[in-house]
C-alpha cells in the first residue's frame, strides 16, 4: 500500500531481512530500520569465526554496503534505541527523545548475553561474544592473553575455543552439564566435538559450576569452581546463552514467555505488531506446533520473509524447516530440523573418519539430522524434512541406501 509506514526495531539478521524483502517485493511505503548498535547491519556468525580470526574485514562482515540502504529507500538509523511502544497511538518512543509513527511495527530485537550472577563478573578481562564491539574488545585481549577460561560449552564457546587454540593459547572450558552443546545436539555429536577439541589441546571440566571470579587490582586472576578448584585466567569468555530482548513487548502489554509470543503468521496479539528472529516465540510446525524460540540465521531471515510476504498482501503461515551450522576449527556441523527430544538415533558414515551424520528419531519419526563434514547428507536431509518425507532408521544406517530415493518419495 502506498504511503504505509513500516518501522523495524533491531537492525541485525531479522530486521535487515524484513527491509530487504519488502523492497524486493515492491513495497512502496516508508521503511525505517532502527538499531541501537552504532554500525551498519552486520553478520554475527563470522564474529566467532573468520572475523575473530582476522580472515575477513568489516567490509565483508556488513550485510550490505551503505549504498544499499539509499538505493532501496531504507531509512536505516544507527545508534537509536526504542524506549517504548505506544500501541494506542501506533508510535514508538525513541530513547533519544521523539516519536515515530507506524502502520506496522516489526520487533526484531534479538537477544542479549546472559550474565551469570557470579561475584567478580564485573572484573576487567571478562569478555562476551555477541556484538561487533564485544568481538573487537575480545580480539585485543586475545592477542595478549595466555590463560583463557571459557564458561559454557555451547556453540559460541566452542567456536571461540577453536580460534584461541589456533593462536596457541591455553584454553579450558568449564561446563555445567556433562557434555558439549547439550541443549541442541545428540550425544554422538557432542562426543565427537569434545574429542576433536581435546585433540587440538582444549581442556574441559564437565559437571562443574563456576562459583566466583577473583581478581587483582580489578583484573581477573582466576575462576573458582564450586569444588574449590582454581583455574588461572587472564581472559574469561562468558558464553552461557542469551536472554531474549522482550521487555519492549511486555511493557506494551504483549504476551511474553521465553520470547515475544506470536501466532502462526508471526503476529503478536496486536495485529499491527509482529515479532521475529531470536526474540520471538512461535508455534513451530517442525516441533508438533510447540512454541519455540530459535537462535539461528535461517530462523531470523525466514521469519523476516514471512512477515514481508504478509505486509505485501501475501500472508501465509510460517513453516520453514529450521537449519543451523557451526564451524569449529576445520570441523563443520550442519543441522537440519530440530533433534532435541529424540528417543533413538542412528549413525550414517563413520565417526572415526570425522565424516558422519546422526539421524534422530522420536516414536520412529525423523526429527532431524546432524551432519559432521557430510554436506551431502545435510542438503538431502533438508529436502526430506522440508517435504515431510521419512527415512527409516534402517535406511539411514545403510550406507548403500541412496537418500535421494527418500527425498523423491511421494507424500
Amino acid at each position: 500500500m502506498p504511503g504505509e509506514r513500516v518501522v523495524i526495531v533491531g537492525a541485525s539478521h531479522a530486521g535487515f531481512q524484513v527491509a530487504a524483502s519488502l523492497r524486493q517485493h515492491g513495497f512502496d511505503g516508508t521503511i525505517t530500520l532502527l538499531g541501537d548498535e552504532p554500525v551498519l547491519p552486520y553478520q554475527r556468525p563470522p564474529l566467532s569465526k573468520d572475523y575473530l580470526d582476522g580472515k575477513i574485514g568489516l567490509d565483508l562482515l556488513l550485510m550490505r554496503p551503505e549504498a544499499f540502504y539509499r538505493d532501496h529507500r531504507i531509512d536505516f538509523r544507527p545508534g537509536i534505541r526504542v524506549a517504548a511502544i505506544d500501541r494506542a497511538a501506533r508510535r514508538v518512543q525513541l530513547a533519544t527523545g521523539g516519536h515515530l509513527a507506524y502502520d506496522h511495527l516489526v520487533l526484531a530485537t534479538g537477544a542479549r548475553n546472559r550474565v551469570p550472577p557470579l561475584p567478580g563478573i564485573e572484573l576487567d578481562g571478562i569478555c562476551y561474544l555477541r556484538t561487533l564491539a564485544e568481538t573487537e574488545a575480545l580480539q585485543l585481549r586475545l592477542t595478549v592473553a595466555r590463560n583463557i577460561v571459557v564458561i559454557g560449552a555451547g556453540f559460541i564457546g566452542l567456536e571461540f575455543a577453536a580460534v584461541a587454540r589456533a593462536h596457541g593459547k591455553h584454553v579450558r572450558i568449564v561446563e555445567l552439564v556433562d557434555r558439549v552443546m547439550a541443549r541442541v545436539v545428540s550425544v554422538p555429536t557432542s562426543q565427537f566435538f569434545a574429542a576433536a577439541h581435546r585433540a587440538a589441546g582444549v581442556e574441559f571440566t564437565f559437571g562443574a559450576a563456576a562459583q566466583r571470579i577473583a581478581g587483582h587490582a580489578g583484573r581477573v586472576d582466576h575462576v573458582e569452581l564450586a569444588d574449590g578448584e582454581r583455574l588461572a585466567a587472564d581472559l574469561v569468555l562468558v558464553s552461557v546463552g542469551v536472554v531474549p530482548n522482550s521487555e519492549l513487548a511486555s511493557a506494551a502489554g504483549l504476551d511474553v514467555a521465553n520470547g515475544i509470543v506470536v501466532d502462526a503468521e508471526l503476529r503478536t496479539a496486536d495485529p499491527a505488531i509482529s515479532a521475529i528472529g531470536d526474540c520471538a516465540s512461535f508455534p513451530c510446525v517442525h516441533a508438533e506446533g510447540r512454541p519455540m524460540r530459535l537462535e539461528a540465521v535461517q530462523n531470523a531471515t525466514d521469519h523476516a520473509r514471512c512477515v514481508a510476504d504478509r505486509l505485501v498482501g501475501k500472508p501465509h503461515p510460517y513453516n520453514a524447516l529450521p537449519w543451523f551450522w557451526s564451524e569449529q576449527g576445520p570441523r563443520r556441523l550442519q543441522i537440519a530440523g530440530l533433534t532435541a527430544g529424540h528417543d533413538q538415533y542412528v549413525l550414517r558414515g563413520d565417526m572415526e573418519s570425522g565424516q558422519f551424520s546422526v539421524f534422530c528419531y522420536k516414536d520412529g519419526r525423523l526429527l532431524g539430522v546432524e551432519s559432521i563434514n557430510r554436506p551431502a547428507d545435510h542438503a538431502i536431509a533438508r529436502r526430506i524434512l522440508s517435504a515431510g518425507r521419512e527415512v527409516t532408521p534402517d535406511e539411514a544406517a545403510d550406507a548403500g541406501f541412496d537418500l535421494r530415493t527418500a527425498a523423491a518419495r511421494p507424500a
Binding site: P45, L60, P65, A67, F68, D302, W325, R332, H378
Partner: protein, 107 residues
C-alpha cells in the same frame, strides 16, 4: 582486474571489476547485485549464492569441491550442469570475461 558480468532473470546486466582473490559472491554483495543472497556469508553452508555460469565458460572456473557439489543439491532454483555457488568462485586472472546468470530465486 578481471571483469565479471552478472545477468539477472529479467536480463539486467552489471559488470564488475573484481580484485583477484575476491569471490564472485563477495563482489556482488559489495556492489549491490541483488540476485545473490549469501545468507551464510560465504561458508558454503546455505546455497543462496547460486549462479549459472555461461555454458561455454565452465572451463574458466575453478574445479568444484565436494562441499559445493553437495550443497548445490539444496538450491531453491533448479540445479543445472552449469550451476555453481558463487562464494566458491574466487576470482583469478583466468576468469576475466566470465558471465554468470542469477537464478529466479535463492530462497
Amino acid at each position: 582486474m578481471p571483469r565479471v558480468t552478472y545477468i539477472d532473470i529479467a536480463g539486467n546486466e552489471k559488470t564488475l571489476d573484481i580484485p583477484v582473490g575476491t569471490s564472485v559472491m563477495q563482489a556482488a554483495v559489495l556492489n549491490g547485485v541483488d540476485g545473490i543472497v549469501a545468507e551464510c556469508g560465504g561458508s558454503c553452508m546455505c546455497a543462496t549464492c547460486h549462479v549459472y555460469v555461461r555454458d561455454d565458460q565452465l572451463a574458466m572456473t575453478p574445479p568444484m569441491a565436494e562441499d559445493e557439489d553437495a550443497m548445490l543439491e539444496g538450491t531453491a532454483s533448479p540445479r543445472r550442469p552449469n550451476s555453481r555457488l558463487s562464494c566458491q568462485l574466487v576470482v583469478s586472472p583466468e576468469m576475466d570475461g566470465l558471465v554468470v546468470y542469477t537464478p529466479e530465486t535463492q530462497t
